[in-house]
């Protein structure tokens, strides 16, 4: 049957079983929106700013195993989407973004709402396409979904000129894709995996370091099984939280710049390190030279060869899907009678427990001001540790990562790589739509929430009962913290005067808003909020403005150079 390009776009999304499409209409995508109107399989979520559409689609993908999909118009629609696309790119999130473009004949003529979308997005997508012929739409969209979710996942953009969406052709959706230039390695090299197992069995001070790849590769079960079987300690990166249960005894929690003392010490002093779907980035190991000052053998499993030996030289590289490789490691381990040396492992655990006794996350909640850590701890208790938690970027993000103990993957949704303020609220929308009955909390700060606060309107329209947990300290807290520690207390532009009355603002959007300023009210307010199954509740916690995130490794310093508390200064 001969149909228009616009209808082909929608039919392709239906074929891909897309249930939610996040977007914002405009001139170049009018034909596509017209086709959306005529069907009811793909539900469109109208956001208030294109950046939010991308974050929502991104978070939808993070909290499910599916590809997030967004639709924006040309020009400003596309440029507004760029921050969202870069956010997804930095965290390897599978996403397809369809952007409208000015008509083919107008391209290059400085037309109204024209930008070179493919050019602008090129450095922050896994791949992008400009469709030049209506006959190419179906195959291009099929390729886009395939590229987004295979190999190292990432956002793929498809730019479609308006005239192409009006032209007609026969619609056939390809069942398979094959690209001679794109064949990601899935299965790990058997010899390397055997070598890795041998190293692990000989280790005296082993450590498992698991990143976002474990979550994205749906390999949390396999990782957990392997770590438990070996009896090794395991630390997770910010992106990897939930990849190994945080409440398990073998979990050392998060590592890195604001990582646990025991995790950072273990990472530094181990003799064999198993890195799984992680990339030794600057927020994790600090200075590569300092990290290299202690000898250790490193095994690195990653789907992306360019992540291996990028910042740290690896002894046993294994390129492949982390789930596949961990599965093979487990099978090999099952088939051997060899076991790790229990005596040295016991000694290593003794050392780790000694580090643990420093209790680096301790804090005291007195009668006076609410401690931000206390709010997160209570949030964890009240939700039974089983909520979906999105966050923005800054101190509140680190506290959420430290004090909410994630036992399951895909529960923690944050912008780790790009560090995008304004991510949290739209992300919560994507998560809530994907999991309608589940509790979703957006932990945010008064700086971040204002970067996409307009989405409270979207939340109302789609009746999303998100719980906004605002840790309001009146400062751009992380900036203030660095200024306090490294810039002689000169708080340059990190204090925001004239903040809105957030509960009233929430009420103006049709939600429930509440201010909490006494420690004794924290738990009750949270309990009450999560009882509201149909309403968005905006909790404005007035927290201690002087609180800092500890432990802390200063940028560029070694992992073991930790500031553990204010007393260390």
């Amino acid at each position: 049957m001969v149909i228009t390009g616009a209808e082909i776009v929608i039919r392709c999304l239906q074929e891909e079983k897309v249930d939610y499409l996040f977007g914002y209409p405009g001139g170049a995508v009018l034909y596509i929106y017209d086709e959306l109107f005529k069907q009811d399989k793909v539900r469109h979520v109208l956001v208030r700013h294109e950046q939010a559409a991308i974050h929502a689609a991104d978070a939808y993908a993070r909290s499910t195993e599916k590809v997030g999909v967004a639709l924006v118009t040309s020009g400003p629609g596309a440029t507004n989407a760029v921050t969202g696309i870069a956010t997804a790119f930095c965290d390897s999130i599978p996403m397809v973004v369809i952007s409208g473009q000015v008509p083919s004949a107008a391209i290059g003529q400085d037309a109204f709402q024209e930008v070179d979308t493919v050019g602008i997005t090129r450095p922050c997508v896994k791949h992008n396409f400009l469709v030049r012929d209506v006959r190419d739409i179906a195959e291009t969209i099929k390729k886009a979904f395939y590229l987004a979710k295979t190999g190292r996942p990432g956002p793929v953009l498809v730019d479609i000129p308006k005239d192409i969406t009006a032209q007609k052709c026969e619609f056939v959706y390809p069942q398979t894709v094959s690209m001679r230039s794109y064949n990601p390695t899935v299965k790990g090299h058997h010899g390397q995996i055997k070598k890795a197992l041998q190293l692990l069995l000989e280790a005296k001070r082993p450590m498992v370091y698991a990143g976002g790849g474990v979550v994205l590769g749906d390999a949390a079960d396999k990782l957990t099984a392997l770590v438990r079987k070996l009896g090794f300690p395991c630390t997770n990166t910010l992106m990897g939280l939930g990849g190994y249960p945080a409440t398990d005894r073998q979990s050392l929690g998060m590592l890195g710049m604001h990582g646990n003392y025991e995790a950072n010490m273990g990472m530094h002093y181990c003799d064999v390190l198993l890195a799984v779907g992680a990339r030794f980035d600057d927020r994790v190991i600090g200075s590569p030279a300092h990290f290299a000052s202690e000898p250790r053998k490193i095994i690195h499993i990653d789907i992306d060869p360019s992540s291996i030996s990028k910042r740290v030289k690896v002894d046993v590289p294994i390129v492949g899907d982390v789930g596949e490789v961990l599965g093979e490691l487990l099978a090999l381990l099952d088939s051997t009678a060899e076991k790790p040396d229990q005596e040295s492992l016991g000694g290593w655990w003794k050392q780790i427990d000694e580090w643990r006794r420093r209790d680096c996350l301790k804090f005291t909640q007195g009668e006076g001001l609410i401690k931000p850590q206390y709010v997160i701890q209570k949030l964890w208790e009240v939700t039974g540790g089983d909520a979906f938690v999105t966050s923005d970027v800054g101190q509140h993000q680190m506290w959420a990562a430290q004090y909410y103990k994630f036992d399951k993957p895909r529960r923690w949704v944050n912008s780790g790589g790009l560090g995008t303020m304004g991510f949290g609220l739209p992300a919560a929308m994507g998560v809530q739509l994907a999991h309608p009955g589940s509790p979703v909390a957006c932990v945010t700060g008064e700086g971040s929430i204002q970067m996409n606060i307009q989405e409270l309107s979207t939340c109302k329209q789609f009746r999303l009962p998100i719980k906004v947990i605002l840790l309001n300290n009146g400062y751009l807290g992380m900036v203030r913290q660095w200024q306090e520690l490294f810039h002689g207390n000169r708080y340059s532009e990190s204090y925001m005067d004239a903040l809105p009355d957030f509960p009233k603002l929430a009420a103006a959007y049709g939600h429930v808003g509440l201010r909490v300023d006494k420690p004794g009210d924290v738990e009750g307010a949270l309990r009450e909020a999560f009882k509201q199954k149909n309403d968005l509740v905006f909790l404005d916690f007035q927290v201690d403005a002087t609180e800092n995130v500890y432990p802390m490794v200063q940028g560029g310093k070694g992992l073991t150079d930790m500031i553990l508390s204010a007393e260390d200064l």
């Binding site: 690209m179 001679r180 990290f291 060869p305 360019s306 030996s309 740290v312």
Partner: protein, 171 residues
């Protein structure tokens, strides 16, 4: 172990890439975004019109060049990548030089072109255009051998490279 930054060496990287618009900017964008250096880059379609072959000359330590080849391979449109300088290979570059050719210089320039096995492909009363092929060093020496004051313009293509013998870069 920390990444050892070995001495930067010149590398000739050859690759096959889908002959599609934008493919070149993906490659050049990768180099600029990651701070890799490009000395020269040549590209043209191959006998199979759906593929282009690119020759890139870059300098970097072993680790940097390893990352360059990995990232090139990661580009969705890149089909194959090889570091030609890993073993025996041939490099050729084309240069066109327009020189002032009057009086006694006319004879001298002609002689020099002959020595370098160049060809004069355009002649006027006052100028020659000399065509010269060879590796970079040969072209450099020719430019050095001619009186700098006589050179009106030089155009160089950047090098093309191919492996010697059985080494073939093909899909």
């Amino acid at each position: 172990m920390v990444i050892q930054n070995t001495t930067p060496m010149r590398h000739v990287i050859s690759l096959l890439i889908e002959n599609e618009s934008g493919a070149l900017s993906r490659v050049s964008g990768l180099f600029s975004a990651r701070g890799y250096n490009i000395e020269s880059l040549t590209v043209a379609p191959t006998e199979d019109a759906s593929l282009s072959r690119m020759t890139i000359v870059t300098t970097g330590s072993d680790d940097v060049v390893e990352q360059i080849t990995k990232h090139l391979n990661k580009l969705v449109e890149v089909v194959k990548v090889v570091d030609l300088s890993e073993s025996a290979h041939i490099e050729r570059e084309l240069m066109l030089v327009k020189v002032r050719a009057t009086g006694k210089d006319r004879e001298e320039v002609k002689r020099m072109a002959d020595i370098f096995r160049g060809r004069i492909i355009d002649v006027t009363d006052t100028s020659y255009v000399i065509e010269l092929t060879g590796n970079q060093a040969k072209l450099d020496s020719f430019v050095g051998a001619i009186d700098a004051g006589l050179i009106l313009e030089t155009v160089r293509s950047g090098i093309c490279g191919v492996g010697r013998g059985d080494r073939v870069l093909k899909v």
